[in-house]
């Protein structure tokens, strides 16, 4: 091979890179590429914790709080986490309440995630789950604090303006001790408030589903056991679907991600091969 060909390897036109990248992202949307999933330890812990919660008979009348801080702008990660989580809750017949502090979350969470799944699993609003609705971010801290001692008094009405005490699912839910778990699906820093104001001796379990970019900041909390499980971005959602054996969109996106990562690594290798070969060729010419 001559040096110009080597040189080409380290100067691939960026448009070629972009076109291949786009293909690698689009193809898995259409075709299910059966890549094996190896759940990370944090995803496994997330799943195991909820399994344990579901196995505990004492939790039958308790509720899981699903806190959503995300909006359509991060739905590429958070929606699939939410979907896998709600699926798990419904499969295990756990009662849950959704709550949000983001103006745009409620619509996307209910219409794209909760309602279609409720239909699929025969979940009835008010009997099996409830939507506490949206609260402004300004009252975030006060609301979380209020939930510790007085849930009906803090939430008062559901998203449609109905007093929450009128729902069967809320009959035995009064204080923190009636909460089976907290799941936080978020692209923003919402953890400290829950850990600081709501949790007591890691009870109820706090599970965390952040965007991938946020995840590294929270390893210390995992280490200390304050966060019992974490779904890292879309990889976490894919892991979770794998654990649930309900491979759906999250897994497909996780495959797309695997392909894209492989592409980038390949590009880096090609670039370096070109770099060294060209340098060697130049040295030969010089001598």
């Amino acid at each position: 091979m001559n040096s110009t060909l080597w040189n080409r390897l380290q100067t691939i036109d960026r448009r070629i890179i972009y076109a291949v990248l786009l293909l690698f992202i689009i193809i898995p949307l259409f075709i299910d590429i059966p890549l094996p999933t190896y759940p990370s330890k944090q995803s496994q812990d997330f799943y195991d914790t909820l399994e344990k919660v579901a196995a505990d008979k004492g939790n039958a009348n308790k509720i899981v709080i699903v806190n959503g801080m995300w909006s359509p702008s991060t739905r590429g990660e958070n929606q699939w986490q939410a979907e896998a989580l709600i699926t798990h809750l419904m499969q295990k017949h756990l009662h849950f309440a959704t709550l949000t502090f983001d103006t745009q979350n409620d619509t996307v969470m209910q219409t794209s995630v909760v309602e279609p799944l409720a239909k699929k699993y025969g979940y009835v609003y008010g009997r099996d789950y409830v939507n506490w609705g949206y609260r402004p971010n300004a009252v975030y801290v006060i609301t979380i604090k209020g939930l510790v001692t007085n849930i009906p008094g803090t939430i008062k009405k559901d998203a449609h303006g109905t007093p929450i005490t009128s729902f069967a699912v809320m009959k035995n839910v009064k204080t923190r001790s009636d909460v089976a778990a907290v799941v936080d699906i978020t692209p923003v820093e919402s953890t400290e408030t829950w850990l600081g104001l709501f949790e007591q001796n890691n009870s109820p379990p706090y599970l965390f589903a952040p965007t991938a970019v946020m995840a590294p900041t929270y390893y210390p909390y995992l280490d200390s056991g304050q966060i019992q499980g974490m779904l890292t971005g879309i990889k976490g959602a894919g892991d979770y679907e794998g654990l649930l054996h309900t491979k759906s969109f999250g897994s497909r996106i996780a495959s797309a991600l695997s392909l894209v990562y492989a592409l980038i690594i390949l590009l880096v290798i090609i670039g370096n091969v070109g770099h060294f070969a060209t340098r060697a060729a130049k040295r030969r010419e010089a001598s």
Binding site: Y18, A212, V213, F249, A256
Partner: protein, 228 residues
């Protein structure tokens, strides 16, 4: 078919889809289609700024307070606000500097609280990065107790070493002549690069997820070619 066509031509979806394609086309080549949507985007954003300024600040905090709640003194904010526009004249230009100055002051005044609340806990947290410098007593029956202890101590000293190297790199007033200082600073820079690489690697997933979501929007929400 007409139903599908109607869906494709839904104004909200169509606007979003064309806009998305136009913006993404930038990566291949800047073109008229991109330029068109760039200007639409800038215009919409500017209009939205103006609307937000009114609906989230001026109306509730200024207009309603003054007009409905009888807090007449708010009117005094108007001349102060007008001082900004001194920039446009020679004579009153200094007046704009006066009001900018007040904002410099406001921005600077929060530094003490910020420093104590946000930064000092980080200093004290460094005393014992992993709870303590000396490993906790081994749990009975742990066959790898020695390994745990060794890794514990190593990690702690690594943590300390890195903080010191990075700090030395960021000293400016001392010429890096002393070999020890020079070496430490160099090491600090290398650690920084390693750490930046880790940040780079851990950011990619979120960025890719956004592009995947855009493709999902085009092929699922709009074209309905993907079953999701």
């Amino acid at each position: 078919m007409t139903e599908y066509l109607k869906h494709l031509l839904d104004p909200v979806l169509l606007f979003g889809a064309l806009g998305t394609i136009a913006i993404l086309s930038l990566v291949f080549k800047e073109n008229r289609f991109y330029r068109l949507f760039e200007h639409i985007f800038l215009g919409l954003a500017l209009g939205y700024d103006l609307e937000l300024t009114w609906t989230t600040v001026l109306k509730p905090q200024f207009w309603d307070a003054m007009v409905h709640d009888g807090q007449w003194a708010w009117i005094m904010a108007v001349p102060v606000g007008l001082m900004f526009y001194g920039v446009y004249t020679q004579r009153f230009a200094w007046m704009s500097r006066l009001v900018f100055g007040i904002f410099f002051g406001l921005a600077a005044g929060t530094a003490f609280q910020d420093f104590s609340a946000r930064f000092m806990p980080q200093v004290t947290r460094s005393f014992a990065p992993n709870k303590s410098l000396i490993p906790p007593p081994p749990t009975p029956g742990d066959p790898h107790a020695l390994l745990h202890q060794v890794s514990f101590v190593l990690n702690n000293f690594l943590f300390l070493g890195i903080v010191v190297c990075v700090l030395v790199y960021f000293l400016f007033a001392f010429e890096q002549k002393n070999r020890a200082v020079l070496r430490t600073a160099q090491l600090g820079r290398w650690v920084l690069m390693f750490s930046f690489g880790a940040i780079f690697g851990s950011t990619i997933m979120t960025r890719m997820a956004l592009l995947i979501d855009r493709m999902y929007f085009i092929f699922h929400d709009w074209l309905r070619l993907v079953k999701g």
